[in-house]
């Protein structure tokens, strides 16, 4: 028996958007991880093969994507702590809203701190 799914959009508050961001960042990190295991495996082929492929990580376009990756990792990790606190801390649900904003500020802040130095390396000013 097939089931017609109900709408997937709900509530529209911090609870929903943190869930959406957690899912998107998680899927993105997963696919990067698959690629990253394969590119690292090239060290077992030859130093030349590894160096040629790793050079592409130092180009402007991929370099910009790396900022997104760092931001995604920071958000996913810190929001994961928030989820654990909601699950295991008696006051977790009371502070889940403010914790989301702390997560967001930290993730954006640390990514911003990392950005100038990284851009200098990949954009060759």
């Amino acid at each position: 028996m097939s089931v017609v799914p109900a709408g997937t959009l709900y509530r529209g508050k911090v609870g929903m958007w943190s869930w959406v961001l957690h899912r998107i960042s998680g899927v993105a990190i997963f696919f990067f991880l698959l690629v990253h295991i394969l590119d690292t495996a090239l060290v077992r082929v030859s130093p030349e093969a590894y160096n040629v492929v790793i050079e592409s990580y130092k180009t402007p376009v991929i370099g910009l994507a790396e900022l997104g990756l760092v931001g995604a990792i920071l958000f996913h990790g810190l929001n994961g702590v928030r989820i654990i606190l909601v699950d295991f801390w008696s006051k977790g649900t009371k502070y889940q809203n403010i914790m989301f904003w702390i997560v967001l500020v930290l993730a954006v802040g640390i990514t911003a701190y990392f950005t100038p130095g990284h851009l200098e390396r990949v954009l060759e000013f």
């Binding site: 799914p5 495996a41 130093p47 760092v70 990792i73 390396r121």
Partner: protein
């Protein structure tokens, strides 16, 4: 003749392992470990020194010459890929309606993850930082001492 029936409000007997519970717990145990492992990994490789510019064969060989970083990276590989696979499984379960499609996707997912865990583990532990036929300029500096001895 009477039929023996269970008391209607008796609790459900848990006869099989509750894998969903252990999956849920795994996410919450591996999560904090991955924060330490991956945040340090990103900090050492991208935030310090020359950042992304320093990454090449010699850099990786320099790290993996030390069993500490070999085990660090293998722990990261296993914990992260299983964490990611369980997460992707949740995503597949949320969006697939047909049971056969769901089984096929989750089966493919675990196959790919298993293969990559195996590949990654073999790469780390069979790695040679000084492959004999390679251009010495691409190798870590300690290879010279080994070659001349």
């Amino acid at each position: 003749m009477s039929v023996q029936i269970e008391i209607p409000n008796s609790p459900r007997k848990q006869r099989v392992t509750n894998w969903e519970k252990y999956g849920w717990l795994y996410m919450r145990i591996s999560g904090p470990l991955l924060i330490v492992l991956i945040f340090t990994h990103v900090f050492v490789n991208l935030f310090t020194g020359e950042g992304i510019k320093q990454i090449d064969f010699a850099f990786v060989a320099g790290k993996w010459a030390d069993p500490f970083w070999q085990w660090w990276d293998v722990a990261m590989l296993w914990l992260a890929l299983i964490h990611g696979t369980l997460g992707m499984r949740t995503v597949i379960n949320d969006y697939t309606e047909k049971p056969k499609l769901r089984t096929a996707l989750v089966g493919t997912l675990w196959s790919v993850s298993g293969a990559l865990i195996l590949l990654g583990t073999l790469v780390v532990f069979t790695f040679d930082p000084c492959p004999p036929t390679s251009n010495p300029d691409l190798l870590p500096s300690f290879c010279e001492a080994i070659a001349s001895s």
